[in-house]
């Protein structure tokens, strides 16, 4: 079996090494990138002349595995209608649009050159289900973020300022659920909703627990840095999707001021603010709704210890799903479409509602513009990443279309002109006046090196430096020639060649192998903490409807190929 490859003469874009489109060779041996001189003459040659070469892309935030994704599949048979493709030589039967099957999820990411993806919200109680789906998703390396922002243990410890205990609990839960990072969704608000309330500012107290969202976020950032986890705290702020919410966003982001990153993974940030498009809204109702991307991005550009992802609206029919239970109820009251909801005891909740982002609705047009503005206003593409919060703002398969809007002012102009309310949209946003076009190098920062660094995985993912994983994507795109926006979309939709850990998985846009996927999780060691262990035991006895023996993600549920990130927080 060939283990040596040399990808020759492509235009290489690699922010890790600072290569900006130079013609270069990428050599691969035993699943790793090596110096070109280190492969033998037997290395298989992949001709990339006239093509763009980048590292495999890294998805920092998508809902692609677990109970809410699957409930979306269950309750939306119409999302699957006419989408199924039969099995082919290298791939199994696959279908679905906004909530594709696990197989289609792996295949479609791989075809676009994505090789690592993070499931953005894992309910700890259902971690087993999340991992079963991750196991069934081919090719891509995956991790999952357990949600902590409405967790009873966390709220109790942080209320009393017990960072060390919160850290011991987080470490236990990451190990128990095989999780990757600390995710926070509508801090306190989802628990408040169990009482018929919500937390719509960072200072609204959570009923019974008497703690505020600001205290939860600050406490979890400190806990995260106490442990020195690879990723920063990853937050979906309060008041998502409401006109005027940008002030809540700024209040949340400001909590990072004065907190320092402490880890051994090269991560310099302490807060990742996700799908910030949904949090950059002005106005006080849907009539005077407007973009506040400038106010938000001015702050993000100044405050160097935070990262963001866009949450770009793709103008499709999609399925919204989030652990922000009260938001989904609010949404179903707005669009009257079917609503699924669940409370996850002691931990979180989730809701699902289908949504149609129509180019004939002013609010959707403005949302579309805000997502692109976030990306175009960044002064540091290493801290601003492209997402659709799949499937919330649109399905991930639309990334190539978003790239074409970001890389071409002409593509944006064409889209704006064909909107039904283009004049009103232009008035409420900044986009029409922006002529910036994202370069391929910046694209590689925003989809590869940047997210990998924020995740603390910059030593293995997101770059083409010797020693890194051999995740490589080659696109039929010649940066030296002039091109039409549609050609960007086409080239990035179906890569000419994709390699995952040294195995070719896509050739000419077709899946040729199910690869060697891995599950990435964090094993954090802390000092023995009998109090926290007793608290966990007591909560299982008193409140949980399952025993601890039926809670932990044991080996059977994990993919056979784990990548464990070791963290030592013992003192």
């Amino acid at each position: 079996m060939t283990t040596e490859y040399i990808i020759k003469n492509g235009f290489v874009f690699d922010p890790v090494q600072g290569i900006k489109g130079d013609k270069a060779d990428v050599a691969v041996k035993d699943g790793k990138i090596v110096k070109s001189t280190e492969v033998s003459s037997k290395a298989k040659v992949i001709d990339a002349a006239g093509k763009t070469v980048m590292a495999g892309a890294v998805e920092i935030h998508a809902h692609i595995a677990g109970p809410k994704v699957n409930e979306g599949r269950n309750y939306r048979p119409e999302d699957k209608l006419f989408t199924y493709t039969p099995k082919k030589k290298g791939s199994r039967m696959a279908g679905g649009f906004s909530i594709p099957t696990t197989f289609k999820t792996g295949y479609e990411y791989a075809k676009m050159g994505y090789t690592t993806c993070m499931e953005a919200a894992m309910p700890p109680l259902f971690a087993r289900h999340v991992h079963e789906e991750i196991k069934d998703t081919p090719i891509i390396d995956e991790g999952a973020y357990p949600v902590f922002g409405n967790n009873w243990f966390v709220m109790e410890y942080l209320k009393n300022g017990e960072i060390e205990n919160a850290a011991a609990y987080v470490a236990w839960l990451l190990n128990s659920t095989k999780g990757y990072a600390v995710k926070v969704v509508n801090p306190g608000g989802t628990e408040a909703w169990g009482w018929g309330l919500n937390c719509l500012t960072v200072n609204d107290p959570v009923p019974y627990f008497d703690i505020t969202p600001a205290e939860i976020m600050t406490g979890l950032m400190k806990t995260n840095e106490y442990l020195g986890l690879p990723h920063s705290m990853h937050v979906h702020q309060n008041s998502l999707g409401n006109p005027g919410n940008y002030t809540v966003t700024l209040d949340s982001l400001k909590l990072a001021e004065g907190i320092k990153a402490k880890n051994t993974f090269g991560r310099e940030t302490v807060l990742h603010s996700t799908h910030i498009q949904f949090h950059s809204y002005g106005g006080d109702n849907w009539g005077n709704f407007e973009s506040k991307s400038k106010e938000v991005m001015d702050y993000v550009n100044r405050q160097k210890n935070i990262t963001v992802d866009t949450g770009c609206v793709t103008l499709d029919e999609t399925t919204t799903m989030t652990a922000d239970g009260p938001f989904e109820h609010h949404l179903t009251e707005l669009n009257h479409l079917k609503w699924a909801n669940v409370d996850v005891e002691l931990e979180t909740a989730a809701g699902i509602v289908p949504y149609v982002y129509s180019p004939d609705i002013k609010v959707c047009e403005i949302q579309w513009a805000i997502g692109l503005e976030i990306a175009l206003m960044t002064k540091d593409p290493m801290r601003t990443f492209i997402t659709t919060d799949h499937p919330n703002a649109g399905p991930f398969i639309r990334y190539p279309r978003i790239f074409s809007w970001l890389m071409s002012a002409e593509a944006r102009r064409d889209r704006i002109e064909s909107f039904k309310h283009s004049a009103k949209m232009v008035e409420a946003t900044h986009l029409a006046g922006m002529d910036r076009e994202i370069s391929l190098y910046e694209l590689a920062q925003m989809t590869r090196a940047g997210p990998a660094k924020s995740l603390g995985l910059a030593s293995v993912y997101g770059g083409l430096a010797p020693g890194m994983d051999a995740d490589v994507a080659v696109y039929n795109f010649n940066p030296e020639k002039s091109y039409k926006p549609a050609e960007i979309e086409k080239a990035f939709s179906a890569a000419a060649f994709v390699m995952k850990t040294g195995t070719p998985v896509v050739i000419d846009g077709e899946i040729v192998s199910n690869g060697n996927k891995r599950t990435i999780w964090v094993n954090a060691k802390v000092n023995e903490n009998p109090q926290v262990m007793r608290d966990i035991k007591e909560k299982f006895l008193k409140y949980y409807s399952v025993t601890q023996g039926n809670y932990d993600v044991t080996k059977h549920f994990l993919s056979g190929n784990p990548r464990v990130i070791e963290v030592d927080a013992t003192t």
Partner: protein
């Protein structure tokens, strides 16, 4: 208009999925081309020619194409699916999904059809001279966009769950219907010349149901408003108007709350 005749010669062992029997798929093709169009029997992809004799070439466009389906097609699904123009005549009983997602043209089923006829229909005319099965003019499973336009007329009876999630268009059933009529409807009109059973207009937001005969059990969420004289499909008579489903949300238009309307002939 050119006529293509497809005549069943070999019965499928399993059910045959033949969504290619439509003027849109046939347009511009010769009889031989048409015989080589694909169909599915179970999970195997096969061709129409394996089951049907095809005679006559199609017109240049769907609008210029008329299809006559002869023989026993009681095990054939999806005839006329997504057709946008032209004409289809099915001479005997057909299976499920006749005229599903139809957008235009005319489809005449001279016999009876099974469930899901005209689901998600957007336009055109579907005439069923026999009986229709369940989910006539309904929405696809899970979808909130049921029948949106066009006309369905059934000379015989229809099954249960007709006009489920109906948003527009008209369904006329000249005979009786089974339970659940226009559940979740947000528009459109259903006319039942015979009798209805129960669950008529459950969770209905907007739209109209007209029943000429009896209703076994009226939904408790419907409230009598007034008697009105109306002309419905050629018959002038007095009807009692009920508003409902009062348990469901209702939009406001020009200061007035809009209800689903249920008329019953007095």
């Amino acid at each position: 208009m050119e006529t293509v005749t497809v005549t069943m010669k070999t019965q499928p062992v399993l059910f045959l999925e033949a969504d290619n029997i439509s003027p849109d798929a046939f347009a511009g093709k010769t009889a031989a081309d048409i015989a080589s169009l694909h169909a599915y029997e179970g999970r195997e992809q096969t061709t129409l020619g394996k089951y049907f004799d095809v005679s006559g070439d199609a017109g240049a466009t769907a609008a210029d194409t008329r299809i006559v389906v002869k023989g026993d097609v009681s095990r054939v699904k999806y005839i006329g699916m997504k057709m946008s123009a032209g004409e289809v005549v099915i001479e005997k009983d057909a299976d499920m999904y006749v005229g599903a997602w139809m957008q235009g043209g005319k489809l005449i089923a001279k016999g009876s059809v099974d469930a899901f006829a005209g689901i998600g229909m957007k336009g055109g005319e579907l005439l069923i001279e026999g009986n229709a099965g369940n989910y006539l003019g309904a929405a696809y499973r899970g979808d909130w966009r049921g029948m949106q336009g066009g006309l369905i007329r059934v000379k015989g009876n229809a099954g249960s769950d007709i006009a489920y999630f109906m948003n527009g268009g008209t369904i006329i059933v000249e005979g009786d219907v089974d339970v659940h009529v226009a559940t979740h409807a947000e528009g459109g009109r259903v006319i039942i010349k015979g009798n209805a059973k129960s669950k008529v207009g459950g969770q209905m937001v907007e739209g109209e149901i007209v029943v000429f005969g009896g209703i076994d059990v009226m939904m408790p969420g419907f409230k009598f408003v007034k008697d009105e004289e109306l002309e419905i499909d050629g018959t002038t008579a007095k009807f009692s108007l009920f508003h409902g489903d009062l348990g469901e949300r209702h939009p406001k238009r020009k200061g007035q709350i809009v209800y689903g309307k249920l008329y019953q002939k007095i």
